[in-house]
C-alpha cells in the first residue's frame, strides 16, 4: 500500500526536523519503506497489516512515538454529541451495520482533503475489501439536520446530485453511468431496494457504498466540522475503519464526538468507541518467542515506542492497552512482534541453535539427477520450460485430444493450462530455434499434470523425462539405442521392451511404446510431418517421453 504525502507536512506532524535519511531508517525499522522522493512529494510503502499507517497522520504518529517524541497510548477523548442515527428495517441481509463519529474544529486545508480522500480509498479498498465489507463517507457536519435515517429505498425514488456532478440522477442511472456506480454498483444492484442515508430535512447524504451527494458530501478546505459514517457487513471491520478514519482526522487538532446508533431490534451503539482493548503479556512469553531476556521496564519502554499503553502488574506480568485504531492485533504474538520492533530490529543479535537433524534429498530428485547425468552423457542439452502452456500446443498441434487441467482466470491463452506432456513443450522449443546450429539435442526433466477424479486435488503430478533430436536426417534406431542405454543404467536390464505402436503424433511404423515391467511408461519415435508442419519445424525430429515413478518403484 502506497501512501502519498508531502514531506514538509509529514515533518510538521512529526514535530521535529529530522533528515530524510533518519526518516528512511526509522520507517525501515517500522515495516515501512520510502518508495519515491520527488522534491516535497514523497511516497511511502506501508505493510497492509498496518491500516492505521495509511495516512500521513498515522505514519507521523508511529514515527513520533518510535523516536520518543511522544510515547504510549495517544489520548483521544470522546464526548457525546447526543446526535442520533436511526436504522430502518430490512437492511439485515443487505448492509446491516453503520457506525459514525463527529470531529469538531479540525484544522484542515485543500491538501488535507485530498489526503483524507486517499486514506478513505485505501482503507475501503483493502480493509473494506473494495467496499464490500465496509465503506466510508465524510460530510459537512453543519449542513446536516439530525437525526439521520439509514434505511432502504426504491432505486427509482433515489434522486440526488452525486459528488462532483451538477445534475440530479436517479439510483439506476448512477449505477449505470457514474464511474463509481459502474465499479461498486454490483454490491447493491442485485437487491430490490437499496440502502440510503438521508437527514431529517430529506437531504440525501449518500447512496452507500457507491457515492456521496454533492450537497452534504463535499468537504473543502474551509470545512472544520466533519461527520464520518461507515456502513458495512462485518461489525469489527466497520468499527475499525471508523476508528482509523476518526483518529487520523483528530490528529489535526479536532475534538471527537460520539453518535448514537439506534437499530430496529432495539440495539443501541455509541460510536466511536476508542477505548483501548486490554491484554496481558508476560516476560516468559516474550523470551520464548523473541529469544530476548527483557525486564518488564524494557518491555514497557518498547511497547510505548509502539503507541501502546503498558504497565507492570508484578511477577513479570504486563498489562497492555491496545490502541483502538490497531486492526491487526489478534493474539499476543502480534503484541510481542511489536515489542521486538519497539526494541529495535537493529539491536537484535542473531543466534545459531544446535537443532540436530540430518538432511537428505527426495528419492525422486536423486532419480531425476541420475537421469540428467545420463542424458548429458548421451550428448543432450538440458532445458527448463514453464509448467503452464496452451491447448493449442498440447493438443491441436500434436494431433492429440487429451484432457487438460485448465485455469479459470489466465492472463493469456498462451499460459492457461498445465502441461500434460513434455513432448509438445520440447517441440515448441525446437520450433523457436530453427536458426540455431544443428544437430539439436535437448531434454527436460520435469513434472506434468494429468486429471484424476479420484485424487485429493483431482489430478496427478507425474515426474517425466523427454529427449528430442533434430537434424538434417534422424534415425529412430539411434533413439532406441539411447533410450536403451538410459533404461539399462536405471537398473532395468531385462525389465523393459519396446512395442510397435500407432500414434497420431508419430510416423506409422517408426513409433514404439516404452514398456517397463509390463507397464506402459512412455513412447518413442519419429515425429510425423503433419505435427512438424503444425509446429513450423523444417527438420526431421525423433523423440521419446518417459514417465517416472515418484516413489522410484517402477
Amino acid at each position: 500500500m502506497i501512501v502519498e504525502c508531502r514531506l514538509d507536512s509529514l515533518l510538521e506532524l512529526i514535530g521535529k526536523d529530522i533528515t530524510l535519511e533518519k526518516l528512511e531508517e526509522t520507517l525501515f525499522l517500522l515495516k515501512a519503506e520510502i518508495e519515491k522522493v520527488d522534491g516535497n512529494d514523497i511516497e511511502i510503502e506501508v505493510n497492509p497489516d498496518r491500516q492505521d499507517m495509511l495516512s500521513a497522520e498515522g505514519i507521523a504518529r508511529a514515527v513520533r512515538a518510535f523516536l520518543g517524541l511522544s510515547s504510549g497510548l495517544p489520548k483521544m477523548p470522546v464526548r457525546k454529541s447526543g446526535k442520533e442515527i436511526i436504522v430502518g428495517k430490512g437492511l439485515e441481509k443487505i448492509r446491516p451495520y453503520i457506525a459514525c463519529s463527529i470531529i469538531r474544529g479540525a484544522k484542515i486545508n485543500e491538501e488535507l482533503v485530498k489526503e483524507y480522500m486517499h486514506l478513505q480509498e485505501s482503507l475501503t479498498a483493502t480493509h473494506g475489501r473494495n467496499r464490500k465489507k465496509a465503506s466510508i463517507g465524510l460530510y459537512v457536519y453543519k449542513d446536516i439536520k439530525f437525526p439521520i435515517h439509514y434505511r432502504l429505498e426504491n432505486p427509482d425514488d433515489i434522486e440526488f446530485i452525486p459528488l462532483g456532478y451538477e445534475e440530479i440522477m436517479d439510483g439506476p442511472t448512477i449505477i449505470k453511468e457514474h464511474e463509481k456506480g459502474q465499479i461498486f454498483g454490483p454490491i447493491i444492484s442485485k437487491f430490490r431496494k437499496w440502502p440510503l442515508l438521508i437527514d431529517s430535512a430529506d437531504a440525501i447524504l449518500s447512496l452507500p457504498p457507491i457515492i456521496n451527494s454533492n450537497n452534504l458530501g463535499r468537504i473543502t478546505g474551509d470545512t472544520s466540522d466533519i461527520f464520518v459514517e461507515v456502513t458495512g457487513t462485518h461489525v469489527p471491520t466497520v468499527l475499525q475503519a471508523l476508528n482509523i478514519m476518526t483518529a487520523s482526522i483528530a490528529e489535526r487538532g479536532g475534538k471527537i464526538q460520539s453518535v448514537t446508533i439506534k437499530y430496529p431490534d432495539g440495539g443501541i451503539w455509541e460510536t466511536p468507541d476508542l477505548t483501548p482493548s486490554i491484554r496481558a503479556v508476560n516476560c516468559t512469553q516474550v523470551k520464548d518467542l523473541l529469544g530476548l531476556d527483557l525486564k518488564p521496564t524494557h518491555i514497557i519502554k518498547a511497547l510505548k515506542r509502539m503507541c501502546y499503553g503498558a504497565k507492570s502488574e508484578g511477577k513479570g506480568k504486563i498489562e497492555v492497552s491496545v490502541p483502538a485504531f490497531r486492526t491487526d492485533i489478534l493474539h499476543n504474538v502480534d503484541i510481542i512482534e511489536d515489542i521486538a520492533i519497539g526494541y529495535g530490529f537493529d539491536n537484535i543479535e542473531p543466534t545459531m541453535p544446535e537443532t540436530m537433524t540430518t538432511g537428505k534429498l527426495l528419492p525422486i530428485t536423486r532419480l531425476k539427477d541420475k537421469i540428467r547425468d545420463l542424458m548429458i552423457g548421451v550428448g543432450y542439452q538440458e532445458i527448463i520450460s514453464f509448467i503452464m502452456s496452451s491447448p493449442e500446443i498440447m493438443n491441436n498441434r500434436m494431433n492429440r485430444d487429451r484432457e487438460l487441467v485448465e485455469t479459470a482466470n489466465p492472463k493469456s491463452r498462451e499460459y492457461s493450462i498445465l502441461r500434460n506432456s513434455l513432448l509438445p513443450v520440447l517441440l515448441d522449443f525446437t520450433s523457436q530455434n530453427q536458426h540455431a546450429d544443428y544437430p539439436q539435442q535437448i531434454f527436460e526433466v520435469g513434472d506434468i499434470v494429468v486429471p484424476d477424479q479420484k485424487a485429493e486435488t483431482r489430478c496427478r503430478q507425474i515426474p517425466a523425462l523427454c529427449g528430442l533430436t533434430s537434424d538434417t536426417t534422424v534415425n529412430v534406431t539411434d533413439m532406441i539405442n539411447e533410450v536403451g542405454f538410459i533404461l539399462r543404467n536405471l537398473g532395468l536390464e531385462e525389465e523393459f521392451e519396446f512395442r510397435r505402436k500407432e500414434d497420431s503424433s508419430f510416423i506409422t511404423g517408426r513409433c514404439a511404446e516404452i514398456i517397463v515391467k509390463n507397464k506402459t511408461r512412455g513412447i518413442l519415435g519419429e515425429i510425423s510431418p503433419e505435427v512438424l508442419k503444425a509446429f513450423k519445424i523444417g527438420m526431421p525430429v525423433v523423440s521419446f517421453e518417459l514417465d517416472l515413478p515418484r516413489d522410484c518403484q517402477w
Binding site: G291, M356, I383, N409, F429, Q432, A436, Q453, T457, R458
Partner: protein, 501 residues
Amino acid sequence: MNEQLTEGERTVLRGLAEMGKRVQSSVLAEQLEQNEERVVSILNSLAQRNLVKLDIIEIVSYSLTEEGKKYAEKGLPEKRLFDAVIKLSGKASMDEAVTKAGLEPQEKGIAISWSRKNGWLGIKKVDKKTVLEAKREKVDAELEELLEKIRSNEDIPKSLSKIVKVAEDRKLIKSSITRKFEAEIVSEKKKEISELLEETIDGIADLTAEILKSDKWKEQDFKPFNVEIDPPYIHYGRKHPYAEFNDWLREILIGLGFTEWFGPYVETEFWNNDVLFVPQDHVAREEQDQFRVHKPHTHGDIIDQKHYKKVKKVHEDGGDTGSIGWEAPFSKEVTTRLCLRSHTTPVSLRYLSEHRESPQKMFIIERNFRSETLSARHAQEFNQCEGIIMDKGLTLRDLMGYIREICTRVGIKKMKFKPGQFPFTEPSIEGFAKHEKLGWIEVAPGGVFRPEVTYPLGIKDSVLAWGIGSGRLYMAAMGIDDIRELYSRDLSWIRRKYFIT
C-alpha cells in the same frame, strides 16, 4: 616456439627448397598438386617463422570487352573502311565504301569518326554525294595489335603501352588487379631448413595398435600437429545453468541438515491459504492474483477432517489458540476450491502434518504460480526456495541466525533485517542483502509460524519459516535483468551461458 614442422609445412617448405628459386604460389601449388589457398596459408605461417620470404605482388591484367572481342576478330571498323577505300582505288562514295567494308550500321559512325581523327581518310561532297578519299597509302593499326595480344593472352610489349589508354577510353578493354604471391627460401636459414626437413622424414601420424605392437614408434618420431589452434564452439550435452544453480542451493541445504519435501502444483485452498490462517476474503485469494482451476474439476477433497475442524474454528473465533480469529464464518466451498499454489508454504504445512515431533528441518525448491502477465519483471511462474525448522525453544533470534547462515553460504556477505508481514508468521522479518550493483535487495523473508497455524496440528513447539529469493539471487549472479531469461527459449543463448559458484 615449437621448432618442429607440421606435415603441411614440411611439404610446402620442401617443395620450395627443391625448386631452388623465387616462385609464384600458383606454380608451387601446381608442382605440389595442392590447392593454392592452402599453400598460401602455409607459406604465411612459414613466413611468420622467418623461414620463407613471401611477397605479395599486385598485377594489373587486361581483358577484352564485348566490343573489343568483336574488333579483335573482324578488325577495327576504321581500318576496315580505310582498306575498302584503298581497294576502290583510293577514292569512293560513302555507300560504296561502307558496303565494301561490310560495316554494320552502328559501326559506320565509329569508322568515319576515327578514320578522320586519325587522318586516314578525307570526306568531300561531290555532286551532292559524299565521297571518301584516302590520305595515305598504308596505315599502322597498333590498336588491332593490342587487342590481338590480349585475346591470345600474350604479354603486352612496352611499345604498346601508350595505346592501352586509348583502348580503355574506347571501352574495348578493361583492367583488373590480381594479387600474386611469390615466395623464396630465406637464404640465411637454408641450413636450419635442411635440418628441420631432415629431422623427421617419416613421422608417425596416427599411433596404431600395429605400431605399438611392432615397437616401430621407437625408431620414428611422431609428426607434430598444430596444438595452438583457437577451438571452435561445439555443443556437447550439459545442464541448464539455472538448474545447476538450484542444484547448488540443494547441496547447501542438505549440508545444513534440511530434508527435501514435495507438494503438488494444484492445491486446495485449504492447504494454499486456510491452514496458513489467510482470511478467506483476503485480496491475495481473489481472481486477479491467484489462479483458479475450473476444468475438469473445480473442487477437491479435505482428507484430514480433524485438522479441517480445527482450522475452521481458528478462522471463526481463534479456537484454543488464544487468538480472536477472523470473526467471520468459514466457508467449505472456498476451502475445497482448487487453485494453482501461489507459494511453497503449503508444502511446509503438508510436511508438518506428517512430522509433528521435534526436531525437524525441511526444504523445497519448486515452482509456484501467480496470475500475472508475462513481462520483464513478472512471470506467471516463479521458483521459491524455502524451508522450516521446528524445535523446542526456537526464537526470532534463531530465525535470524539461520537466515544469515543460509545467506552467507550462497555468497551474501552483508545483510540486515527489518520487520515484515505475512499472514501466517508473527513475528515476520525480511532479510536484505547488500549487492555490489543493485544495493540493498530483499532476498530472505521469514517468520515464526503463528499459533493459529501450528496449534490445529497439535504442534506447540516453535516453527521457524524462511525463504530465499532464489530467482533474484540467480539473476543478480548472472547479470540478468529480465525474468523471462530464467526460462529462455533461445537455444544458442543456453548453449553459451554457464553458472559457476
